[in-house]
């Protein structure tokens, strides 16, 4: 019994150590087992073994691991990230060469996913500290949000520290940089610098916030029932229609164009300081082409969002903070007319900090750049 136990332990140590020395394995099946991790830990056992075997193969497999991230799930991406980190650490500790050229080639291939290119960049920076200096100036329009962010940050920092021959030159520099920036802190910093030069940026338009809406309500949200109740606007919007409201009164669509910064629609102001109620906002836009988009909303209230009749986002949460882009629904904008519907639910809390009832919504791409659309929302007489 004791000898069997010892044998089992030694077997476990061997298996845990991974591949026998010098025996390379085809990375394809190993990567596939890792990418097959599913919900609730399904596939973890097989993935863990594959992970060890993969890492044991050393830095030559780095391009394969990075490439595998291109079509991996968010869960699998983090498994693969850990493999890259472990491979690079072990290579460094063991004096093994990691090919900087291959990493740089990988970074330059924009067909690869942003996360994998970003990870390759971080690996390269560890090998070659001159990497940011060499590569970032060329990445201002990069499809990877993280690489683009660093590129903008470096150029902005240098611009702010540097001197310009004229105020106009500085203005042009900042305006150009604004076209590359996507992260709100950078956009806001550049906008603030332009303001000092007397240039006002319409951030509402820059971010793509919708300002023209039709609104209808209130519908009932007593005890939170309204979040799930399907009221008529969810079945189709007819701007001329009227409906039975919360208290049985007749409610109709009304025009609302907001002049508030960043497209804020304050329903307490527009509809009234009500509790246990639902209001719908509707807007229609045209697009020249079909394209993937994100509808990014902010609200301190429970929301649902539809694009062309299909629900693309919901969140039933009240008064836990309002932040630009906190709610993100993904969909496809059609060429031509598109219809957006948002449902904004106010609950019945009486706390002073739970009275906000408002929303903002913008139309942008995956990096956060406003998508060119024309608002064609009908006016209601």
């Amino acid at each position: 019994m004791r000898s069997m136990m010892i044998q089992a332990i030694l077997c476990g140590i061997f298996l845990s150590a991974g591949v026998a020395d010098g025996v390379a394995q085809d990375t394809g099946p190993l990567l596939q087992r890792i990418k097959s991790v599913g919900k609730e830990g399904a596939g973890n056992i097989e993935a863990a073994k594959a992970w060890k075997d993969l890492v044991a193969q050393g830095p030559t497999v780095l391009p394969d691991v990075l490439g595998a991230m291109d079509d991996a799930s968010p869960t699998a991406i983090n498994w693969l990230r850990a493999a890259v980190e472990a491979i690079q650490d072990k290579a460094s500790a063991q004096g093994q060469k990691v090919s900087a050229d291959k990493l740089e080639s990988f970074i330059k291939e924009t067909r690869h996913a942003g996360k994998s290119r970003r990870l390759a960049y971080e690996c390269l920076v560890r090998l070659d500290p001159s990497t940011p200096e060499r590569l970032l100036p060329k990445l201002l329009d990069d499809p990877s949000s993280e690489l683009r962010r660093d590129a903008v940050a470096v150029k902005l920092e240098r611009g702010l520290k540097g001197t310009f021959a004229t105020s106009a030159a500085r203005t042009e520099f900042l305006k150009d940089l604004l076209q590359h920036a996507r992260d709100r802190d950078q956009v806001n910093s550049i906008s603030d610098e332009l303001k000092k030069l007397g240039v006002e940026i319409d951030l509402t338009a820059h971010y793509g916030f919708v300002t023209r809406w039709l609104l209808v309500g209130p519908f009932d949200n007593s005890r939170g029932v309204g979040f799930s109740n399907v009221y008529p606007p969810e079945k189709g919007v007819d701007p001329k229609a009227s409906y039975a409201g919360k208290a049985g009164e007749t409610v109709r669509w009304r025009d609302h164009t907001t002049a508030r910064p960043l497209g804020l629609v304050d329903l307490n102001e527009v509809v009234g300081k009500l509790h246990g109620t639902v209001v719908y906002g509707y807007t229609a836009v045209t697009s020249e082409s079909e394209r993937p988009i994100e509808l990014r909303a902010a609200s301190n209230n429970a929301v649902r969002i539809w694009l062309n009749g299909k629900e693309i986002y919901f969140r039933e949460e009240y008064h836990h903070g309002m932040e630009i882009d906190q709610h993100v629904g993904k969909g496809i904008l059609k060429a031509g007319r598109n219809e957006i519907l948002i449902k904004v639910c106010q609950n019945e809390q009486t706390d002073s900090w739970a009275q906000q009832w408002s929303f903002q919504l913008r139309i942008c791409d995956a990096l956060g750049a406003a998508v060119p659309v024309v608002n064609v929302t009908e006016k209601v007489k």
Binding site: I13, A42, I45, S73, A83, E85, A86, Q326
Partner: protein, 408 residues
């Protein structure tokens, strides 16, 4: 609702299990939130009394981002979590050498859940847990990861990937705990809420029970009741105990709703629960017996300590109370400058309290108030201090400090 899962053995599972054979942990190890067993009590001796930004610092290590989790320490390693990058998109686990503070490794995952939160907190709020061979880190993004002590990934799960509505816009902070080989995760939030027992070796669910959909930062606590282990959680439905092996509900005290962020503690068969009124209760086979309640002892963020018949509590404003564990009678009260977010630490006969500005006060543990020292680290500290290897560890917004005499 109660979920159960059958185990399926396969060869890969055997390979995974063997490294998890238990190794004895050193008595000085800090395995989880608030130290061994989650009680805020250390058995360390010769702990420092005084320190400053330049004095009695054995080592200090810069960190790549904020975190509210306390360091966990085992087998000569200090594990710290952090959140970094724009919008807290990176969740980071770091490992330092206990003696020297040298960074041994760093691992990151990309957030798979939402990262919005109240500015006071952040995504590295739950404290990780270690069994000596592994570190298990849960982030408020719902990312749950296990690394071995060399930094190799053992398993990873995206709990938001599994349950897409998990999250809340204020932030989550309940820390995991461990019972034998079951990792206990409490995720009560604005979306799908549950308590789960997860196989620490593989990351797979052993069981999962529904919990109230409500914001809750209270960490689960493992206690002994009638000779059997129970995991106690306190939420908007009161205090409930479950069997950690299978999630079976054992008892519920519906009136003991969590009204604060602080977590309960346990001593001598009694659970001490922050609630609308601070409550001492004795679990039994049925509904627990309420021994006493004291509204003046109600804490905010900071979890209480019970040691040698005394209860120690500090509230968010800096009011420190010492009370009898038997009756709740307040024995002394002392006012410190607040605000306080870190729970206190008791060790070596001393009570360590650190406010958010980095002012560390040392009181004598006991039924007489005695201020021993006041120390200043000019840094923002919201994480609970812990003790190991004759030192106190503070995790500030930017660094980890090991306070104690330098080792030769």
């Amino acid at each position: 609702m109660f979920f159960a899962r059958e185990h399926v053995m396969n060869p890969y599972r055997i390979a995974l299990i063997l490294p998890f054979l238990a190794i004895p942990l050193h008595a000085e190890d800090v395995t989880q939130f608030r130290g061994p067993n989650g009680l805020g009590i250390s058995k360390e001796t010769n702990l420092p009394l005084t320190w400053s930004a330049t004095d009695n610092i054995r080592w200090k290590a810069e960190l790549p981002g904020r975190g509210l989790a306390n360091p966990v320490i085992a087998d000569g390693r200090v594990y710290v979590t952090a959140t970094g990058a724009y919008q807290q998109k990176r969740q980071i686990v770091l490992c330092f050498d206990l003696k020297t503070g040298r960074k041994l490794w760093e691992r990151q995952v990309w957030a798979t859940g939402g990262t919005q939160c109240h500015p006071k907190t952040n995504m590295a709020a739950p404290t990780p847990i270690t069994d000596g061979r592994h570190v298990y880190a849960l982030f408020a993004t719902g990312d749950l990861v296990c690394y071995d002590k060399a930094g190799d990934l053992v398993w990873y799960r995206s709990l938001v990937g599994d349950y897409p509505t998990v999250g809340n816009n204020v932030g989550m902070a309940a820390s995991p705990t461990l019972h034998e080989d079951t990792l206990l995760i409490s995720l009560e939030n604005a979306g799908e809420s549950f308590l789960a027992g997860i196989d620490k070796r593989t990351g797979e669910n052993r069981w999962r029970v529904q919990r109230p959909r409500d914001i809750n930062w209270v960490s689960p606590l493992v206690i002994q009741n009638q000779g059997k282990a129970e995991v106690v959680v306190q939420g908007s439905d009161g205090m409930t105990a479950y069997d950690p092996a299978n999630g079976e509900k054992k008892w519920n005290a519906p009136k003991l709703r969590s009204g604060t962020y602080a977590s309960p503690t346990y001593a001598d068969g009694v659970v001490y629960a922050p609630s609308d009124k601070f409550t001492a209760l004795r679990p039994s086979a049925g509904e627990p017996e309420v021994l006493w309640q004291q509204i003046k002892l109600r804490p905010n963020y900071c979890s209480p300590i019970v040691h040698q018949g005394l209860v120690y509590i500090v509230n968010g404003n800096g009011i420190v109370n010492c009370a009898s564990a038997k009756s709740g009678e307040i024995l002394w009260t002392h006012r410190l400058d607040g605000p306080f977010a870190a729970s206190p630490l008791l060790g070596d006969g001393k009570l360590y309290l650190v406010n958010e500005k980095g002012v560390g006060t040392v009181l004598a543990a006991g039924d007489q108030l005695k201020v021993l020292a006041t120390n200043m680290l000019d840094d923002t500290i919201l994480a609970t201090p812990v003790a190991s290897d004759g030192a106190i560890f503070f995790r500030s917004d930017a660094a980890i400090y090991c306070i104690g005499e330098k080792k030769k």
